[in-house]
């Protein structure tokens, strides 16, 4: 994260942490909330500013530092929003976002196609575990295999998909 002259490489920091901040902000306040992008910008600016001005002294890692700013900003956003509409908002940050959708539509289509091509054995496990949201134990019971076996199969299916997606 640092340049040769021991100053922080702000471009690199922005490139690396922006996706993380975006991920967390969208998960917490909801990707359908139009403000998410402004909030991400604000957090990144704030972090860079603090690093630039020397307010960040390296007590923690850059990652932890940026995470703390992100979390505070989200809590602040939710609190303010709650004051406006106390009735409709839950008391903690809504998580996970039920309206979240995959952004890259083409990638989603491709992934769906690859999923379709999987053997029934793997499809069944993904269906029960990820679609039906059953616990490992429950899936194990349904399929008559051990919970450990469930994890292994899920893991293997993921690996297989990764490979197929790279092709």
């Amino acid at each position: 994260m640092k340049k040769k002259d021991n100053s922080y490489d702000l471009e690199k920091i922005t490139a690396e942490y922006r996706p993380l901040v975006t991920f967390k902000v969208k998960k917490s306040i909801g990707a359908h909330t139009p403000e998410w992008e402004d909030i991400v910008n604000e957090i990144m600016l704030n972090a860079i500013e603090k690093i630039k001005s020397g307010q960040f002294k390296g007590e923690s890692s850059v990652g932890t530092f940026i995470y703390t700013i992100t979390r505070r900003r989200i809590v602040d956003y939710i609190r303010r929003k709650k004051k406006i509409a106390t009735k409709y908002l839950p008391d903690s940050d809504p998580f996970p976002d039920p309206h979240e959708q995959i952004e890259d539509k083409e990638r989603a289509e491709l992934l769906a196609k690859k999923l379709e091509e999987l053997k029934p054995k793997y499809k069944t496990i993904l269906y029960l575990y990820y679609y039906k949201d059953l616990s490992r134990k429950e899936v194990a019971k349904r399929l008559g295999i051990s919970p450990r076996n469930v994890s292994e199969r899920v893991h293997y299916a993921q690996k297989l998909l990764k490979k197929l997606m790279k092709k």
């Binding site: 932890t64 499809k123 059953l134």
Partner: protein, 210 residues
Amino acid sequence: MRKCRYENLIDDYLFGRLSKEKREEFEEHLFNCPRCFEETKERNELILVVKDKADSIFKDIRIEEESKSRVREKIFGFLSPKPLISAVATAALVLIIVFGIIPNVIHKTPEFIVSDDAVRGVSITLISEAIPSEFKWEALGEDIKYKVFIYNDELLWEKSTKNNYISLPEKIKAKMTPGKSYSWQVKAFSSHGTLISASSKVQFTWQNNN
């Protein structure tokens, strides 16, 4: 490459199953571990696609599930003048059965399975909501076995019972921290051990008055 110990938490994180503390710890880790972040993003994508495009992805699997429920319809078919075509009807029927209006049927039909969509989280109402030393829920009928689960971020305790209430043993109470949040859940099983219903997880704060 060695597996990061946080990798096991990815699914629980994405499904919102972690406690607030654990979730924040996990998120802080994500900000410090590019590999876990990559994996979490990919997993998130997979779950979203699975949920979004389930109709096409799981066509064949659903047919299998449906044919299972058709078997169920055959078994329960004699109870109804018309064939049961929708899951809702099946669920309604099963509710009637589990609520004990036709209790004898339970013994005769080992195939006592309900589609999860229809009944999960619906038919068990948790009565005790806060500060319970005794947990109570609405009974579903006779000959039903319940399993009670207490979670902090992980499963803390589980116990089976035939009653519709349970109290915590002192040993477990001693393990719980006052003021901390926990959640509990009840699952109901037929006399043959088949899961017929599961309540949602309900949070409570432990306040030990002793």
